[in-house]
């Protein structure tokens, strides 16, 4: 009798727990998908990205106006993180990721390699159709062991040089199309008492990346696409004469007396988003700024495209190069709602809506999206250059640092460029040697 009384509380507790579990399981009553155990509709598609909070808001607005309104099976939630890389690493291992927007195709392959990402083939997508939509080159960047893992979701033109249009026209400057014309222009600006370039490489833990874009633009325009691809694949060393040549030309711009506002050695202290701002001073603190199409988000709010500023393609050196970067969607949970989301999101309707969304500087990698989708003339122009380059061959080159192994592309390349800026043109060879030695075996 006494024993029963003692055991009673434990039993009672166990019963309560059991009762709770039963209630919960019965109450939900959601049908478990028979075909795929992981394919249960959770009602949400979470999209994690590294975009700025403002851009995340734009994405959410677009999704709310389109996908979230067109169907009621699930809700799309965009989420951005300042420490995206770490978040992806943690959550992919924890199995709590739906779709991510990866800004670096190198990491698409890495996610595929780790076995967490799901191949498009396995989700039933038609690769040939995707290739005609985004171009074979772009699709091939997300390929691993014969399967594709990434759907391009955004693209930005990197070979862009911005200038203060009104002042530029007033001063009677001409848009340069070749390297020699560019050099002549910057000499003329200096002769007129101005400073040609505004440059800033500061970006928290990623400080140095804008400098790698410069190097890549020059590599593409000097060595050509084949050598450029060999450089990415490490078929030529990082300190190859072709790279040294590009580094010298880059140094000529950076270290030339009076070429860069504040001096090259201070460029690692200037936030990349603040860098173009002196261009809008009166008179302009600088006249040229090389940066990708997203930079307009950092321009002063009252600056008007086509009046206060405009852009021209990075001049050709030995040939014309079109450097671009972009973002690819990678899926970690194969379910009807994630598949539906991918299909809708890459479609022309949503992509065109994205171009029309005010405050969005995203450009669709879908070559079928007309440039008329962009009320903004800057984006429309960039979209035209990109669609031509993506659909064709030879001209386009995807951001090299994004494709190199992360030890280099998100590490020693950035760091090396900062050291180059600080230690001067003579340090080029040792900087490139050091990056070469950091390449993983």
């Amino acid at each position: 009798m006494r024993r029963i009384r003692l055991v009673a509380p434990i039993l009672a507790f166990a019963l309560i727990v059991a009762a709770c579990t039963d209630d919960d399981g019965g109450g939900e009553g959601s049908p478990t998908a028979a075909g795929s155990p992981a394919g249960e509709n959770t009602g949400t598609v979470n999209v994690l990205s590294a975009v700025e909070p403002e851009e995340n808001e734009v994405l959410q607005n677009i999704a709310d106006a389109t996908i979230n309104q067109e169907q009621s099976d699930y809700t799309v939630e965009f989420e951005q993180s300042g420490n995206f890389e770490e978040q992806v690493q943690i959550r992919s291992q924890g199995g709590t990721l739906d779709v991510i927007l990866l800004p670096q195709p190198g990491t698409v392959v890495q996610q595929a390699q780790s076995g967490n990402a799901i191949a498009l083939e396995d989700m039933g997508f038609d690769i040939a159709e995707l290739e005609s939509t985004f171009g074979e080159y772009f699709m091939s960047l997300g390929e691993f062991e014969g399967k594709h893992y990434g759907i391009p979701s955004n693209v930005n033109l990197k070979s862009m040089v911005w200038y203060p249009k009104d002042d530029f026209d007033k001063a009677g400057y001409e848009i340069p199309t070749t390297w020699d014309e560019l050099t002549a222009l910057s000499d003329q600006i200096k002769a007129d008492g101005g400073t040609p370039w505004c440059v800033g490489y500061q970006s928290e833990g990623s400080t140095g990346w804008p400098a790698t874009d410069w190097m890549e633009d020059i590599m593409l325009a000097t060595a050509g696409q084949d050598t450029y691809t060999q450089w990415i694949d490490h078929e030529i060393p990082f300190n190859d004469p072709a790279v040294v040549n590009a580094g010298e030309l880059f140094g000529d711009v950076m270290f030339g007396q009076g070429n860069v506002l504040g001096g090259a050695e201070n460029t690692p202290s200037v936030a990349f988003g603040d860098a173009p701002l002196p261009m809008f001073d009166d008179p302009p603190g600088c006249w040229l700024h090389r940066q990708a199409s997203f930079i307009t988000a950092f321009f002063p709010e009252n600056a008007e495209a086509g009046v206060d500023y405009d852009w021209f393609p990075f001049p050709s050196i030995d040939q014309q190069g079109t450097l671009f970067a972009g973002e690819m969607m990678v899926t970690f949970r194969d379910a009807p709602e994630t598949r539906d989301f991918l299909t809708r999101f890459m479609g022309e309707e949503v992509q065109c809506a994205m171009g029309e969304e005010p405050g969005s500087s995203r450009i669709s990698p879908n070559v079928n999206v007309e440039s008329t989708c962009y009320p903004n003339p800057i984006l429309a122009g960039a979209s035209e250059v990109l669609s031509t380059a993506l659909a064709g061959e030879g001209e386009a080159g995807f951001d090299a640092s994004d494709q190199m192994p992360p030890e280099v592309g998100s590490g020693s390349f950035w760091t090396g460029m900062v050291q180059y800026m600080r230690d001067g043109q003579d340090s080029l060879q040792s900087v490139l040697d050091e990056i070469e030695s950091s390449w993983p075996a």
């Binding site: 507790f13 939900e28 200037v270 950035w414």
Partner: protein, 380 residues
């Protein structure tokens, strides 16, 4: 075997049953140790499922969480304790301690011992944690320039931060103790930074160290404001190698002084007034009182504070990470390298090897701390 001492029935004829009893005792001990974590695990699983359900009333969710979390665990221990009472007398006291210590041991081994062993294993493998590569990762840790710099810098952090934070905290605590009025206010001021997160503090200090080169507008940084006020050119503080390491350490010192001050102040207050007064009557100067009476009396507390800070400084990461490209600025520290290699460069082997090095480096500090603690205990 300790049970045999308390077992009055143990006799010669029961030789075989004694071995059986020992076996039973071990089984019961293990079962007792496992029971609570296992039951708690399933109870939590069920509760967690319930707590996750979004339609559930929030109030009920909170009540369930509190009831299960507090009373559930209490009932588990209480029930297990009662269950032990049901055992035959000779087993009881042999099993009872295991009911209470066991769950802790089980949880520790699952959440601490297993990850440590796993980390050591990963540190011997390649970037993807797939193939064994021997000691390659450790060779990298002790040969890579950046890694060596991070070890140098971390050594700087564990010497400079505890030294300055403790000394400033001690001086401040001593002086504040002498205040007739406003001691609480004076202490709160120093204590405030401790309430900010490391990242928050770093962002604040980023503004203090802010630098803009000529042409990019006026300098908004406090330090450069002072420099310009003195007619000097602004300085890019965070690019100033190797001094930038010191500038970053200042942030941690700023944050930790409050902790040192509060703990030491409490210790100072517990020094008996009689001793201090006796010394003063004997003609000791204030400095002598401080040096000969106060410091020796609170030495154990100082040791605890220093140890805490050494361990904190070893693990510093946030401050360095927020301030930019550590490799280019040469401000790397071990914990920052670990994150960089493990997550950004996605090299699990190297990341784990760095983690193991950091872990091994902390062990002597812990052992020293435990030893001191034991000595203190034995004196009492």
């Amino acid at each position: 075997m300790s049970s045999s001492a308390t077992d009055p029935d143990a006799g010669l004829p029961a030789q075989t049953s004694k071995a059986g009893a020992a076996l039973w005792l071990s089984v019961l001990r293990i079962a007792g140790a496992l029971a609570i974590p296992v039951v708690a695990f399933f109870a939590m699983w069920a509760t967690f499922d319930f707590l996750r359900s979004e339609d559930a009333n929030r109030v009920i969710v909170v009540v369930v969480a509190v009831v299960v979390g507090v009373f559930g665990v209490f009932f588990l221990y209480w029930g297990m304790n009662k269950a032990v009472d049901l055992l035959p007398f000779r087993y009881r006291e042999g099993v009872r301690p295991w009911i209470f210590v066991g769950p802790c041991l089980v949880i520790l081994s699952v959440f601490l011992v297993y990850p440590v062993i796993n980390t050591i294993l990963i540190s011997l493998k390649d970037a993807f944690g797939q193939e064994f590569v021997g000691l390659d990762n450790y060779r990298f840790v002790f040969s890579d320039d950046s890694m060596l710099r991070s070890i140098r810098n971390t050594l700087g952090w564990i010497v400079i931060v505890p030294l300055f934070a403790t000394v400033i905290g001690l001086v401040y605590a001593t002086l504040a103790d002498k205040l007739r009025r406003g001691e609480a206010v004076a202490k709160s001021l120093i204590f405030l930074p401790l309430a900010i997160s490391f990242v928050g503090a770093s962002v604040t200090w980023k503004l203090i160290y802010s630098f803009r080169p000529a042409g990019f507008g006026s300098n908004i940084g406090l330090l450069n404001g002072v420099m310009q006020g003195l007619g000097q050119d602004p300085v890019a503080w965070i690019q100033l190698r190797p001094w930038n390491n010191l500038f970053l350490m200042v942030i941690m010192i700023w944050m930790q002084v409050g902790f040192a001050m509060v703990v030491l102040s409490a210790a100072i207050k517990s020094v008996p007034d009689e001793i201090v007064e006796a010394a003063r009557i004997d003609g000791a100067s204030e400095w002598q009182v401080f040096r000969r009476i106060l410091i020796p009396s609170i030495l154990p507390t100082i040791v605890v504070v220093v140890t805490y800070m050494v361990i904190n400084a070893m693990k510093v990461f946030d401050i360095v990470f927020v301030f930019g490209n550590a490799e280019a600025d040469e401000t790397e520290v071990i914990a920052e390298r670990m994150l960089r290699w493990f997550f950004i460069s996605a090299n699990q082997g190297r990341g784990a090897a760095i983690a193991v090095v950091l872990f091994v480096a902390i062990i002597p500090v812990m052992i020293w701390n435990i030893r001191r603690f034991r000595e203190e205990e034995s004196i009492r």
